[in-house]
């Protein structure tokens, strides 16, 4: 193999690397949650947004806590998460511009058909959690500062349980995303709090099914915010705002409502509901 052939191959390889991937397209980075990714929502709505505006949305799916961190560091242009109190604090601290509500879904308590905590009959999440603790039934927590994890901690609090102090070996904190938590629950026949969207899309169910749903406290609101360009001047504020505007517009809200798995709608748009 002559030097010239090798040089040609290297040049070709470099061209491959430097080539199309991100040079000409307009793009933004959106830090979002694993639940929106794992449910397939983005796969449905982002192509519609791109067709309408030509803007490519690059979604980095992390837990809500990590996404907010990413926003604070300026590594994303837009945040799309589900922890209202934390989002409002993010804006108050000056890291974000305005927070816009976008959609909601609900959490469901998933558990094994054998129901060791005996809670199948109740639709009260607080009663259910108290029973789980009382019977020391196995419970999987995401433990990753995600919106779901924060919601779970809030529910323990609502049930009057200081979970940090009162947990036992029945409470397994895995520090991973929703899919991983469901996999673990499936493998160990345990209870787990999940968002409905990820649950519907989840395949590896084993013996698991929904045991508690419909409680108002299981309501899960999603919000979107632009990262503050005053703190991070490189943030693509026009493109980012275009994404936010589309999400809360009629077109975006319809796209969200249209996303269904097996005929079930996963997310419910509510951008125009005051105080959402």
């Amino acid at each position: 193999m002559t030097i010239r052939t090798i040089a040609a191959l290297v040049a070709y390889a470099l061209l491959l690397v430097a080539s199309p991937t991100h040079a000409q397209t307009q793009s933004i980075v959106v830090a979002s949650t694993t639940s929106t990714q794992d449910s397939g929502l983005f796969g449905h709505i982002l192509p519609l947004f791109k067709a309408a505006t030509g803007i490519e949305v690059r979604v980095v799916a992390q837990g809500t806590g990590q996404a907010l961190d990413t926003g604070r560091r300026g590594d994303a242009d837009v945040l799309f998460v589900h922890a209202k109190a934390q989002e409002e604090k993010f804006v108050a601290d000056g890291f974000g511009m305005k927070r816009f509500p976008v959609m909601y879904n609900d959490f469901v308590l998933i558990g094994p058909k054998s129901d060791p905590a005996g809670i199948k009959s109740t639709s009260d999440i607080v009663v259910a959690l108290q029973a789980i603790k009382a019977k020391a039934a196995p419970f999987i927590s995401r433990g990753d500062r995600s919106g779901t994890h924060i919601a779970e901690l809030d529910l323990w609090k609502a049930a009057g349980i200081d979970i940090a102090k009162d947990k036992g070996p029945w409470y397994k904190d895995i520090g991973q995303g929703m899919g991983a938590a469901l996999n673990t629950a499936s493998a160990s026949n345990a209870y787990v709090l999940a968002d409905r969207g990820t649950w519907i899309a989840f395949k590896n169910r084993g013996e698991l099914d929904i045991v508690v749903q419909g409680d108002k406290r299981l309501f899960n609101q999603y919000g979107v915010m632009l990262v503050n360009p005053a703190k991070h001047p490189h943030v693509k504020k026009e493109l980012g705002q275009a994404f936010i505007d589309w999400l809360v517009s009629a077109a975006g809200q319809k796209a969200i409502a249209d996303y269904k798995i097996e005929g079930q709608q996963l997310f419910f748009p509510n951008a125009n509901v005051p105080g959402a």
Partner: protein, 230 residues
């Protein structure tokens, strides 16, 4: 990628998302192998041939760095490339370039350590001749690297294999963005966490097949080269 398709169906239908993922995996890991070779081969040869205080310690550290945990490298590069980090103005976080950078750092020690061993062994054979021809250090490095080229291909393959197999570094610095920074390993991690285990397993087999093909090609190149150049 379609929800319910098996990996087999995706391959047969030439699913564009799968092709994008495979193409990105190859570009990232092959580029990292090339970059790591540019850094690691001369460095390994230098350590093999030069004598300097602390040389033995350097060799120990270099060998130890072969075991750098990918996730630690990923974290370090993430902190470097983050907008809040020292190289933030490069704007490289969550891009394939960041992934190549992280993997290059990860596998450069492997290539350097293996090159050092190969060159040091070869030096025993070549030392007299090169000394008799008054070849200086730079000339010795170049001559031995070229003469050892077939053995060094194995070192490059070891580096490539390690890069192609890892997920910890690329998922942190790349962000596993659909259609942009999703590689075979990060796709497997994602499908596993979504509970689509058959698809994840299928993708895993595709990844192994690709690595085998790359190794086979390298073997072919080596054999052809040996026949031509002895």
């Amino acid at each position: 990628m379609p929800h319910d398709a098996s990996a087999f169906e995706l391959i047969l239908s030439g699913d564009p998302a799968l092709i994008t993922i495979v193409r990105l995996s190859l570009i990232v890991s092959l580029s990292a192998a090339a970059g790591a070779a540019v850094i690691g081969l001369p460095f390994g040869a230098l350590i093999a041939l030069a004598r300097f205080p602390g040389r033995e310690l350097t060799i120990v550290v270099l060998n130890a760095l072969m075991g750098l945990p990918p996730v630690v490298v990923g974290l370090a590069v993430y902190l470097l490339l983050s907008r809040s980090g020292p190289l933030g103005s490069w704007g490289l976080l969550f891009t394939p370039q960041a992934m190549i950078m992280a993997q290059t750092i990860l596998i450069a020690p492997i290539i350097a350590a293996l090159a050092r061993q190969t060159i040091e062994d070869l030096w025993v054979e070549y030392r007299d001749e090169l000394a008799a021809m008054d070849i200086g250090l730079a000339g010795r490095i170049a001559t031995l690297l070229w003469d050892a080229r077939f053995s060094l291909v194995t070192a490059l393959l070891a580096g490539f294999g390690r890069a192609a197999a890892e997920v910890g570094a690329v998922i942190i610095v790349g962000g596993n963005i659909d259609g942009f920074t999703r590689t075979m390993t990060t796709a497997i991690a994602l499908e596993t966490s979504k509970g689509d285990l058959p698809l994840a397993l299928g993708l895993g087999l595709v990844l192994i097949a690709i690595v085998v093909v790359v190794n086979a090609l390298a073997w072919g190149v080596r054999r052809a080269g040996e026949r031509l150049a002895g």
